[in-house]
Symmetry: C2
C-alpha cells in the first residue's frame, strides 16, 4: 500500500494537476543557461497545460497577470510538482519549503553542484541530498532539463514540439534528451515521458525505469546513463522489464576521456567498460552509442513485426555502390543469402544483365524507372524462402527517378505493397538524405506509412541487426514458442 | 627510351590533342546507361576542349555541324585518344581499327562483358583483350566511365564541374569516381586526373599508379580497387610512391557478399581480406572504406602540416555532448591529454565553471558567444605543450551563435588565428551540417581558408588519426630526421 501511494505520488510528476515554478523573474533576466523560471512559466501556458500554475517570487505580486507567491508554503493548494530555478545556494532552503508544503515531486533545474568539481558545489549537493532524503522528497535533478510529457501538455524543453507516442527516454543529459525530441519524430517516433535527471540527487535511472516498466503509455524505454549508484537494482529491473518492453541504453563515459567529461558534466563516476559489457550481455538491453542510433533502432521496434530470421535481400543500383552494399551488410551482421535459381530466372525476365545483376545484393537501377517491374521484383523477393526482410537501397535523385511523377510511382508501389500485405515480410528503406529536400521528403512519406527509413545503408543494417538480436534474446529468455517470432 | 615513348604516349590520354568518339548518334537515342557517344561529344565541346574532336558514325556525314567519319582509320590525323561507345559485340572490330590507325590511347565505355557473368560476355572480353595486347593498345575500360582531367578540359562524367587541383583518383567504379568528383570539392579538393577503368582490359590500377607517381600535377593519389591482376606490382609501386605522395586506397569486395557484387560489377576476383590486411601493413597505404572517408583524409593531407604528434584539445559545448566527445576521440585513436594546470587556471579566468568545464575535452559554450574569449582560449591551448592540434567541435546553430553577426565573429576569429600563425598548431573543425544551410556555409568558409572541416566529430577524428598514422609511417620508413615532422 505504501508502495502504491509512492507510485501514485510519482505518477503526479508526469500528470500534475498543479505546478509551482520557483524563481520566476518579472523580466527576461537569464538565471540558468538551461532554462529560466520565466521561460518555463511562459512555455507551460503556451502549451495549454490544463492544470494550475503558481509562480513563486518573493518580490513580485504577480507575473504576467498571474498571482505570484513568496514561497511554495504560501501556495493555497497541494502541489504535484515544483520546478526549482533559483541559484544553487538558495536550493536547500527551497527544498525545506517543499517538504513543509508537502510537494509531491520536485524538479531542480539549477546547476552549480558536484559537476563543477569544486568543493563548494559538492558540499551544496550533499546538503541538498540530506534534506531531500530526510524529508522523503522525490527529486528530479539538479543540473537537469526536467520533463516533457506530451499527453499532459507539459515541457521544460525549449522550442520542442509535443509529439505524443509510446516511447519514453530517461536521460542524464538534457542535451541528449533535447536531441531525441528533435530527431525522433523524423524516424516516426512519438513520446510518452522524457526525463532529463542530471546529477540524480535522490531519483536515479532505476527509479524512473521502475515507473516506466508499469506505465501503460510506454511501450519502448530508452536510457542515457553516465553514472549509476545502484547497479544491482538497474540489472534486476532491466532483466525483468526488457522482455516485455525493449530497453535501449546509451552508456556514456566508457573511455578515460569520456569518463573525465562525465565527471564534470553530472559529477558521475562512469564505471568500467568491462562491467558494462557484462551488463549488456546479462540483460539483453539494446546497446547504442548515439541519439541517432537510438532513434533508428526504436523505429525498427515500433514498425517491424518481431522476427529472428536474418536473411535479407537488398535492392539497389550502381555497380561500385553494390560492392559497398555487400561489404557493409557483412560488416554489420546482415546476411545476404543467394536467391534461389527460380527467383533469379524470373527476375532475369525483366532485369537486363548489362550493367545490372540479380545476385544478392541486386544491382537493378532499371526497377526504379518502372514501378510495375519494381512491384514484380518485390513480390518475387518476398516469395523467396531465404529472404525475410527487403532493404530498398534508394539513392533518390539518381537512376532517373528524379522526375516527380516517377518518384511518386516508386513510392506508391512500395507503400501499396506494404499496405496490401499486412504481417508480410517487412520492407526497410535506406535513403541518403540531408534532413531537407526531395530525398528527405521521400523518406518521411515512407515513415508515415510505417516503413522504417534510414539515411544510410549502414544505419539501416545496424538498426536491423540490433532489432533481430533483441528478438533472439527475448525468444531465448522467454523460452516459449519461437514460432511466434518467425516469419515462416 | 622505349619506356619514355610509352609514358609520353600514355601522357596523351590525359592531355590529348585529338580525340575521336566512336559511336556518335545523330539523335539522343540512348546506347549505354553510363553515357552516350553524343553526350560525350557535346560535353567535350561544351567544356571548351582545345583540341580537335572527330566523331565516328558510318551512317552520318556530320554530327551537329562537325564532319563525321566512317571509322577511326579514315580520320585525317593521328589520334591521341579514342572513346568507344558502340555496342559490345562491335568493340573487337573498333579495336582493330584503332590499332590500324595507330591510336595512342583507347577508352571503352561500353558494358556487357565479363561482368554479366554470361559466357558470351566473357568470350567477348577475352577476344578484345587478345586484340588489344597483340596490337600493343593501351585500353582504359571496358565497362568504365573514363576520364576527367580539368586542366585539359576533358571529361566523360556528366554534370560534374571541372575543379582543378593536385588530387588524382584511379577507380574501378565509375559511380565512386563520380561521387568523389561531386563531394570532393566540398572538402576543398581539386582534381588532377580522375580515371574510371572498369574491367581493366589491358591497363590495370598499377599502370595508372605508375604514371601518377611521376606526374608533377599529382600530389595525392586515391585508388578504388575491386580486383587486381598483378598484386606484386601494386605492392612494389605503392611502397615506392607512398613515401613521396600519400596513397589512399578503398578496397571493395572484402566480404563474401561484397565479393559476389564485385564479380558482377567488374568481373573481378576480389581476393582475401587477410592478404589485403597484410598489404596495408606492408605499404603504409591509407585505408578507407567510403568515398566520404577518402575525401576527409585527403583534406587533412592537403591542408595540415605533417606531424606525428597525437595530443589534441577539443573545444566544444554541452555536457552530454562532451561525454560523447571524450568517448568518440578515445574510440578513434585521438589522445586528449590533460591540460597543464597553468592552462586550466588561465582558462578559468574567463570560463565560468557553472555548466562548463576546462578539462579536455573543454565544455565551454560561452566561448562561442564572445570571439575575444575564443581567441584567448585558442592561444592558451596552442601554448600548452601537450596540445598539437585543436579541434573546434561546433554545433553551429546552438550556443547562441545563431545570430549571423556573432557567427561571422566566431568564424573570423578562427580564420584570423589560422592566417596569423602560419605553420603553427593546426585547427580542425567538426561542424554537423546537412550539405546545405547555415552550418554547411560556415564549414565551407573555413575550408576555403585552409581549415579542414568535417561533418561530425567522429569523421574529424578518423581523418586525423589516419593522417597521423601516415606521417608516422613515412617518418619510420624514411628513417630521416623526424623533427621535420614534429610540432615541437
Amino acid at each position: 500500500m505504501a508502495n502504491k501511494t509512492r507510485v501514485s505520488g510519482f505518477e503526479r510528476a508526469f500528470n500534475p494537476r498543479t505546478i509551482s515554478i520557483v524563481g520566476v523573474s518579472r523580466t527576461d533576466k537569464k538565471q540558468h543557461p538551461g532554462g529560466t523560471g520565466l521561460g518555463f512559466f511562459r512555455r507551460l501556458r503556451q502549451l495549454g497545460f490544463k492544470g494550475r500554475i503558481y509562480p513563486v517570487n518573493p518580490k513580485a505580486e504577480e507575473i504576467e497577470g498571474v498571482r505570484s507567491y513568496p514561497s511554495v508554503v504560501s501556495v493555497p493548494e497541494p502541489l504535484d510538482l515544483a520546478i526549482i530555478t533559483v541559484p544553487a545556494k538558495s536550493v536547500p532552503q527551497v527544498l525545506k519549503d517543499c517538504i513543509a508544503a508537502g510537494v509531491l515531486n520536485v524538479h531542480i533545474c539549477t546547476s552549480g553542484f558536484s559537476e563543477t568539481g569544486e568543493e563548494e558545489g559538492k558540499r551544496l549537493e550533499e546538503t541538498a541530498r540530506e534534506i531531500a532524503l530526510d524529508g522523503g522528497l522525490r527529486v528530479i535533478g539538479p543540473n537537469s532539463m526536467g520533463l516533457q510529457v506530451p499527453s499532459a501538455k507539459i515541457s521544460t524543453f525549449d522550442d520542442m514540439p509535443l509529439v505524443n507516442g509510446p516511447v519514453s527516454f530517461v536521460s542524464q543529459s538534457g542535451g541528449h534528451a533535447g536531441a531525441f525530441l528533435r530527431f525522433g519524430p523524423d524516424q516516426g517516433i512519438g513520446f510518452s515521458k522524457i526525463i532529463s535527471y542530471g546529477n540524480a540527487l535522490t531519483l536515479d535511472a532505476p527509479d524512473f525505469l521502475e515507473y516506466l516498466g508499469s506505465d501503460p503509455e510506454t511501450r519502448v524505454i530508452c536510457l542515457y546513463i553516465e553514472g549509476i549508484r545502484d547497479g544491482r537494482k538497474l540489472i534486476r529491473l532491466v532483466r525483468e522489464i526488457n522482455t516485455r518492453k525493449p530497453i535501449i541504453i546509451w552508456k556514456g563515459g566508457l573511455t578515460d576521456s569520456g569518463a573525465r567529461a562525465a565527471a564534470s558534466h553530472t559529477g558521475s563516476l562512469a564505471g568500467d567498460s568491462q562491467v558494462w559489457d557484462a551488463f549488456f550481455k546479462q540483460t539483453g538491453a539494446i546497446r547504442v552509442s548515439s541519439i541517432e542510433e537510438m532513434a533508428e533502432v526504436v523505429s525498427a521496434l515500433l514498425y517491424l513485426r518481431p522476427s529472428v530470421s536474418r536473411g535479407v535481400a537488398v535492392l539497389g543500383g550502381g555497380g561500385g555502390n553494390n560492392v559497398a552494399t555487400g561489404d557493409i551488410c557483412a560488416q554489420e551482421g546482415i546476411e545476404l543469402p543467394l536467391l534461389s535459381s527460380e527467383t533469379q530466372t524470373k527476375l532475369n525476365d525483366f532485369i537486363s544483365l548489362v550493367n545490372q545483376s540479380v545476385t544478392n545484393p541486386l544491382d537493378a537501377p532499371s526497377l526504379f524507372t518502372d514501378a510495375s517491374h519494381l512491384r514484380q521484383a518485390i513480390e518475387l523477393l518476398t516469395a523467396d524462402p531465404g529472404v525475410h526482410v527487403i532493404i530498398l537501397n534508394l539513392n533518390v535523385g539518381l537512376f532517373g527517378i528524379t522526375p516527380p511523377k516517377l518518384m511518386r510511382q516508386v513510392r506508391k508501389c512500395i507503400c501499396d505493397f506494404a499496405r496490401e500485405t499486412p504481417g508480410g515480410k517487412p520492407i526497410v528503406a535506406a535513403i541518403p538524405h540531408q534532413g531537407t529536400g526531395v530525398a528527405w521528403e521521400f523518406a518521411q512519406k515512407l515513415i508515415k506509412e510505417g516503413i522504417p527509413s534510414y539515411r544510410s545503408l549502414r544505419r539501416a543494417c545496424r538498426a536491423l541487426n540490433r532489432f533481430t538480436r533483441y528478438n533472439e534474446y527475448v525468444s531465448q529468455v522467454s523460452g516459449t514458442c519461437t514460432d511466434d517470432l518467425q516469419d515462416e
